[in-house]
Amino acid sequence: MGNTPIDMQLLNACAALLLLLSFAMLSQRRVVSLVNLLAMQGALLCIATLLLAWRTGNNHLYFSAALTLGLKVFLLPWLLHRLIRRLQVYWDTEPMLNIAGTMLVGLLIVVFAFGLAQPISALASTATRSAIGIAVAVILLAFLMMITRRKALSQVVGFLSMENGLFFGAMSATYGMPMVVELGVALDILVAMLVLGVFFFQIREQFDSLDLHHLERLREDK
C-alpha cells in the first residue's frame, strides 16, 4: 500500500473526502452551510479532474476541470447564495428522519453502492476504478438527502450533489464523457438552476414559504 504514487494517493484522498462531504451534507441543517459544502464538493471534483488530467495527459479533462471550477465552484453556489439571501431561507426544518438515523441509513447505502460498483470496477481499466464505488455512493447519498429534506433549496442542493457524483463516476470509470456531452450536461444544469430560481419566486409568492409541506395537496385520488 505504501508504494502507490503520490498523485494516486491524492486522488484517493479526494474520493474519500467527497464521500465525507456527502455525509456532512446529510447532517447539515443550515442551508448556507449546505451550499458551501456543495461548493467544496465542486472544488474537490475540480482538483480530482486536474490530477487525472495531469496523470493521463488527457487534454479535454483540463477543459472539464475548468468547466467544473467555473460552474460548480463559483457560478452555482453564487446563484444559490443569492437565492438564499433574497428568499431569506436560512434553516431547514428538522428532517424527516433524525440525523443519527439518516447517518446509519447512509452507511448502509454506502455498503450497497460498493456492492453495486463492484462489477464495474472489476472491468474498468482506469487507474481510478476503485473510486467508482465512491461515486455511486455519493449519488445515492444525495438521493437520500433529497428524500429526507423538506425545504426546496436543500432538495436542490441534493440534486446538484447527485450531479457531482455522476460527474465523478464518469471521470473515474472512463476519464470523462465526450466533451460535447459534458458541455450539454453542464448547460442543462445551468438552465435548470435558472428555471428553479424563477420557480422559487413563484412558490414564494404563492405560499410565503419554501417549505415543501405546502406542496402535498395533490394526491392520487383527487
Binding site: 453495486l116 462489477p119 464495474i120 472491468l123 474498468a124 481499466s125 449519488i139 438521493f143 433529497m146 426546496a152 432538495q155 440534486f159 447527485m162 450531479e163 455522476l166 463516476g169 464518469a170 470509470a173 472512463t174 476519464y175 464523457m177 465526450p178 460535447v180 456531452v181 450539454g184 450536461v185 448547460l187 442543462d188 438552465v191 435548470a192 428555471v195 428553479l196 424563477v198 420557480f199 413563484q202 412558490i203 409568492e205 404563492q206 405560499f207 415543501l212 405546502h214 406542496l215 402535498e216 395537496r217 395533490l218 392520487e220 385520488d221 383527487k222
Partner: protein
C-alpha cells in the same frame, strides 16, 4: 437540407416568439412555425422513404424508419395542437388567466419544447439524447406552472424533481453505456456514444455493465414515460398545466421517452443475449396498466382521468415492446400512433369543455351535447376510440397486442384483459353523464372550431379500418429494427 430546416424552424420560432410571443398575432405565428416544421418533416419523411436511412452531420444525427415516423407524428400533432391553442389561449387571456408576458413565455417554450423533442428523436448520440430529454423537461416545467396557482406550482415542482432525479439515473446509465462502449470502440472521437456504432458492435459489449446500465436507463427514461411506480408527476403536470400542454405531454413527450427506452433496449438485448430487458419492460408495463386502471376509479378531475389513461396506454406499449417480435413491435408502434392522436384529440375537447363550464371537476360538467354538439360528440367519440372500441385504430393495435400476448405470454393476457375492462368501466361511467347528462346551461350560440379533433379522430378511424401499405411497410421496417425474441 430538410433536416436542417426541421431543427432550425422551431429554434428560430423559439427566438422569434421569445420576442414577439406576447403580441396579438403571436398564436398565428406559432401556427406558422409549426406548419413549417411539419412541412419539413414531411419532406424529410419522403426522402427517407425514397433513399433509406440517413446519417447527417458527421453521424451526429440519424434517421431510420423507427424515428422518422415519430418525427412526422410529432410535427403533425405539434401543428394541430398549435391550431387548437390559438383560440384556446386567446380565451384564457380574455378570462384573465394569463397575461401577455406569460403568453410570450408560453409560445417561446412551446417551440423550444418541439425542438428538444425533435433533437431527441433524431440524434444518433446517446449523450445528446439525454441532454435533449432533460431540456424537454426544463422547457415544460414553466409551462406547467403557467397559471401560478398553488396546485400548478406543486405539480411543476413534482415534475421537476421527479423527472430531474429520474433523468439523473438515465445519465448514470448513459455513462455506463459509454464505459462499456469505450472498451470496444475506443475513446478517440465520440463514436463510442453513437447509436449506429453501438448497434453494430452490440454483441461485443460487456453484458454485466450493459445490464446494469439498462436498469438505470429504464428507471430514468421510464420516469418520463410515466411508468409505475414513477408516475406521480404525470397526472399533476397534465391536470394543472394549460390544456394544449397536456395534449403534447401525453401525445408526444411520452412517445419520445418510450422511444429512448426502446433504443436502449435494442442495444442491451443485443449484448445480453437474454430476455432480461424484455422481462423488465413487460413487468413495468403490466404494473403500470393495472395500477392506472384501478386508480382511474378514484379520479374526479377530468384531465387527471385522462392522464391516468395515458399511463395505462404507456404501460400497454411498454409491455408490447417487451414482448418483442415482429407482430408485437408492429402493434406497439401502431398503438403509439393512434394513442398519441386520440389522446391529444381528447385533450382538445376536454380543454374546450372545461373552458366552457369553468371547471375541471367531472361532477360540474354535464350535458355537453346540449351545450355544444361538436364538443360533446368529439369527447364521446374520442373516449370510445381510446377505450379500444372497433372500428377505431386503438382497437386494432390492442387486439394485436392481446392476441400476441395470448400466444407468447399467456400468463399476462388475462391480467391485461382485466385491466382494460376495469379502465373501460371507469372511464365510460364518468364520460357518459358528462356528454349526455341533464344540464341547465344554455346552448352555445356558435359551435367552436374543432377541426384538429375531428382530423385526429378521422385518422385514427382510418387506421383502424385500413393501414395503407406504405405505412405498414414503414412500421414493419421499424419493427424489424427493434427486433426482440
Amino acid at each position: 437540407m430538410e433536416f436542417l430546416l426541421l431543427l432550425c424552424v422551431p429554434a428560430g420560432g423559439a427566438i422569434a416568439l421569445g420576442v414577439l410571443g406576447g403580441r396579438r398575432r403571436a398564436p398565428e405565428l406559432n401556427v406558422a412555425f409549426s406548419l413549417a416544421t411539419f412541412i419539413a418533416a414531411c419532406v424529410l419523411t419522403a426522402r427517407v422513404v425514397s433513399e433509406g436511412n440517413l446519417l447527417l452531420f458527421r453521424e451526429w444525427f440519424f434517421i431510420d424508419p423507427f424515428n422518422v415516423f415519430l418525427v412526422a407524428l410529432t410535427a403533425f400533432v405539434g401543428l394541430t395542437t398549435a391550431l387548437f391553442s390559438r383560440p384556446y389561449m386567446r380565451i384564457e387571456m380574455e378570462h384573465g388567466r394569463v397575461t401577455a408576458r406569460r403568453l410570450r413565455l408560453y409560445h417561446a417554450m412551446y417551440q423550444l419544447f418541439m425542438l428538444t423533442m425533435l433533437v431527441a428523436l433524431t440524434t444518433n448520440n446517446m449523450g445528446l439524447l439525454w441532454v435533449a430529454m432533460e431540456a424537454a423537461t426544463l422547457s415544460t416545467v414553466l409551462l406547467v406552472t403557467l397559471y401560478r396557482t398553488a396546485a400548478s406550482l406543486e405539480a411543476g415542482w413534482k415534475y421537476f424533481i421527479l423527472c430531474g432525479v429520474g433523468i439523473a439515473q438515465a445519465l448514470f446509465g448513459t455513462i455506463l453505456l459509454y464505459f462499456a462502449a469505450e472498451k470496444v470502440l475506443g475513446a478517440e472521437g465520440v463514436t463510442a456514444l453513437l447509436w449506429t456504432h453501438l448497434n453494430s458492435v452490440k454483441g461485443q459489449l460487456e453484458p454485466a455493465v450493459l445490464g446494469l446500465a439498462f436498469v438505470f436507463l429504464l428507471v430514468g427514461y421510464g420516469t418520463k414515460v410515466g411508468l409505475a411506480p414513477l408516475h406521480n408527476w404525470l397526472p399533476d403536470a397534465h391536470a394543472e398545466g394549460p390544456t394544449p400542454i397536456s395534449a403534447v405531454l401525453s401525445g408526444l413527450l411520452l412517445n419520445v421517452a418510450i422511444y429512448a427506452v426502446v433504443r436502449c433496449k435494442v442495444l442491451v438485448e443485443g449484448s445480453l443475449q437474454s430476455s432480461l430487458p424484455s422481462q423488465m419492460l413487460m413487468g413495468f408495463g403490466l404494473v403500470s396498466v393495472v395500477l392506472a386502471a384501478f386508480l382511474l376509479w378514484r379520479q374526479r378531475d377530468i384531465k387527471r382521468l385522462f392522464a391516468y389513461s395515458s399511463i395505462e396506454h404507456m404501460g400497454i406499449i411498454t409491455f408490447a415492446f417487451g414482448m418483442g417480435g415482429a407482430v408485437a413491435n408492429f402493434a406497439a408502434l401502431l398503438h403509439m400512433t393512434v394513442h398519441s392522436l386520440t389522446k391529444s384529440a381528447i385533450f382538445f375537447t376536454v380543454g374546450h369543455a372545461a373552458q366552457k363550464t369553468g371547471s375541471q371537476l367531472m361532477d360540474d360538467i354535464r350535458g355537453l351535447v346540449t351545450i355544444s354538439p361538436t364538443i360533446g360528440w368529439g369527447l364521446m367519440l374520442g373516449t370510445l376510440a381510446i377505450l379500444g372500441l372497433p372500428p377505431f385504430g386503438v382497437f386494432a393495435s390492442e387486439f394485436l397486442i392481446l392476441t400476441t400476448a395470448m400466444k407468447q405470454q399467456p400468463w399476462a393476457a388475462p391480467i391485461l384483459l382485466l385491466a382494460l375492462g376495469v379502465a373501460f368501466a371507469a372511464i365510460f361511467r364518468r364520460v357518459q353523464p358528462m356528454v349526455f347528462g341533464e344540464t341547465t346551461a344554455k346552448r352555445l350560440p356558435h359551435p367552436p372550431a374543432l377541426l384538429p379533433v375531428f382530423a385526429h379522430l378521422a385518422i385514427v378511424l382510418a387506421l383502424g379500418v385500413y393501414v395503407p401499405p406504405y405505412l405498414a411497410d414503414w412500421y414493419r421496417a421499424a419493427a424489424r429494427l427493434i427486433g426482440g425474441p
